[in-house]
Amino acid sequence: MNNIDPLTGLLDRFGCLQAAQKFASVSTAKKKPFSVIWLDIDRFKQINESFGHQGGDEFIRGLALRFRNRVSGRAELCRMGGDEFVFLVPQCDRNQAQQLASELTSTVEEPLTLGKLTLRPSASIGISIHEHGEDSLTLLERADRAMYAAKRNGGHMLVCSGDEPIPGRLGITLAREELAIEGTLHTALETGGLSLHYQPIILANGQIEAVEALMRCSVEGESIPPGKFIPVAEKTGLVIRLGEWSLLQGAMHARLLQDAGHQTKVAINVSRAQLISPKFTKALNAALLCSNVKPELVELELTESLFMDISDTVQKNIQNALATGVSLSIDDFGTGYSCLANLKDIPAKKLKLDRAFVSVLPEDQRALAVVKAMTQLGHELGMTVVAEGCERKEEIDALLEVGVDAIQGFYYAKPMPGEDLIPWLQARNTK
């Protein structure tokens, strides 16, 4: 018979295309779903090399038999050559296709005895669902591409066409919007879509205490607010690479300011994921080295949530960071996981009060009392106390009144791009 693969008795490549055409036109005419599953055995080359082509053939024949037993009557089976199989599944939607694919995966993974050895193979699978009017070749190509995406991501994986290459990129399942953000973050990292903006922190006497570096992400003119991308970055572990990027970028900017005659400290945010990583010290040292900046011009802002659980690695990283000469500050203090005991253990020089306290000033006397107490506590520990998120003159007056040392907020300056900072500092100095 024509179009039959002699080794397995399944449809061959040409037979597959013909059958797919038939299913596709039925699917279009009757508006019924039709799915294609493309399966490729991982590391088949090794099997072939270890057992010779005869062993490889035996393996493929064995698999084909198992597939036949498993899906018989539900799908048209094809062998596309080598170790690639295609399953044409009429009246099968995405969910059913995924279900069938996972059955196929377990079929592949059943141990298989070849000579004296027992093999435990795995497979990469791509799925495509027929779209109304789509031709069969395009449909097959989509399944093949999805399979290839699974392979590229390390194999032993299932990818649906249209979802590649994001799913499983870091092995973590995320909701669709988050997946889109994750994809954008990757693009930003790869295409220069990240930047740091700088917001000045102003002392009561009007001098600049420091500038805080805040990350911005924008791809093809569309920016994602930090409130959206930072949680995704944290969830996926990307925050480590983003954090390293801002360490170097922030340190380089501090160096740029230093060269322009401004001894202005740049405060760089460090995430929990970075600080619990054993590589943090190396990354910090590399950033200081590459930027060639005076370490005292760099400050690390640690979020307070970090202190709910201080591991040995975190302590070591903090000690090592201090040894380089950079200073530390505690961010968002006063809400969340505040633990006063931690304050005594973290040798930070600056305490930044959470913006939640600021917005209710000066009317809320109780909030003011808390701010005053936290400020005194900070001073007792030798720290500079900063209030964030200050937008109105009355807030600032009240904060300075209770002893807060420095103010950060829109009232003085919005975060600005790096290239605007030096002119801003110069204009301020000449005032």
Binding site: L189, E190, G192, E220, R241, L248, T281, A286
Partner: protein
């Protein structure tokens, strides 16, 4: 197209590029600078020759890529190789910037950079060739770029730590610990981390940055549960193989890296030991070529 032309593009780009060469922090190889200037000064300079000269130097290539990837140009697709960057920046701009660098002679003297310059150029060339010859599944330009920049952390550390050369020698000779572990013993950071951050700063593709970061990491390279993308592993394996050939061919003292990482690399590249034997002969002219 010669050095005396003062037409477009604007001088901002000249400054940007020249500044970038200085900022990269790695001195360009003087021999390459000379070769470039000699060719560029000719009546009718050979563009391909200039491009290939530049692309063998770590510092000049990095500067071109960083400048072409800067927001000034706003290109949507990031540049991945010196050749692509040269096409964007133009030969005039590049020549003027290189000439400016030669004139100012701004770089501090870092001893023993010759071996670094020579090795990175040869490893890059051979990596590109290997990627082209065999179906490794990586772009030859990427293999070239990675080979060139893989060790870019080394000159930075050499410039800052007087004892780093001894650390390198110890790491090269250690047959048990990984290269990075040896660096860890003496240094606050290591050349893979420095290189990764630099490459990220030049906006090189993420897989190249990650490959630089992990290029001595046996576990990331070969273990079954490695989270390192296959693309990175292939880049690393190709360059390690290239380095092995270069050392073998030039009769340099063999480092222990191939002993530690070689089997994993061959597995990733799907090459057998026997095949390697025939390759030794085939790669010789590529390793030994002068440019």
């Amino acid at each position: 197209m010669n050095l005396n032309q003062q037409d477009s593009p604007p001088t901002e780009v000249d400054n940007l590029l020249e500044r970038s060469i200085i900022d990269i922090g790695i001195p360009p190889c003087p021999a390459i600078l000379n070769r470039f200037i000699t060719e560029a000064k000719k009546e009718d300079p050979d563009y391909n020759r200039l491009a290939s000269t530049i692309s063998t130097d770590v510092s000049l290539s990095a500067s071109l890529i960083k400048t072409a990837n800067s927001p000034y140009f706003g290109t949507r697709q990031r540049v991945r190789s010196a050749n692509e960057a040269l096409a964007i920046l133009g030969l005039n701009t590049t020549s003027r910037a290189v000439a400016g660098i030669v004139l100012r002679n701004t770089f501090p003297h870092i001893p023993n950079l010759e071996r670094f310059w020579d090795a990175s150029a040869r490893i890059a060339r051979l990596s590109g060739w290997l990627a082209q010859q065999f179906e490794i599944g990586i772009r030859p330009e990427d293999a070239y770029t990675f080979g060139l920049f893989r060790d870019c952390g080394i000159p930075v550390l050499l410039g800052r730590f007087p004892n780093y050369e001894e650390v390198l020698a110890t790491a090269n000779a250690d047959s048990e610990r990984s290269f990075i572990e040896v660096e860890e013993e003496f240094m606050p950071t290591d050349h893979a981390m420095v290189g990764c951050l630099l490459a990220q700063n030049w906006w090189l593709p993420e897989e190249i940055c990650l490959a630089i970061r992990n290029h001595h990491d046996q576990k990331a390279l070969a273990s079954a549960d490695s989270m390192l993308p296959m693309m990175c592993r292939k880049l690393i394996a190709t360059s390690q193989l290239a380095e092995h050939f270069v050392q073998n061919q030039l009769g340099l003292s063999l480092t222990q890296e191939w002993v530690k990482l070689g089997p994993g690399c061959l597995q990733i590249l799907d090459l057998g030991e026997e095949f390697l034997e025939t390759l030794y002969v085939e790669v010789a002219p590529i390793v030994l070529a002068d440019e």
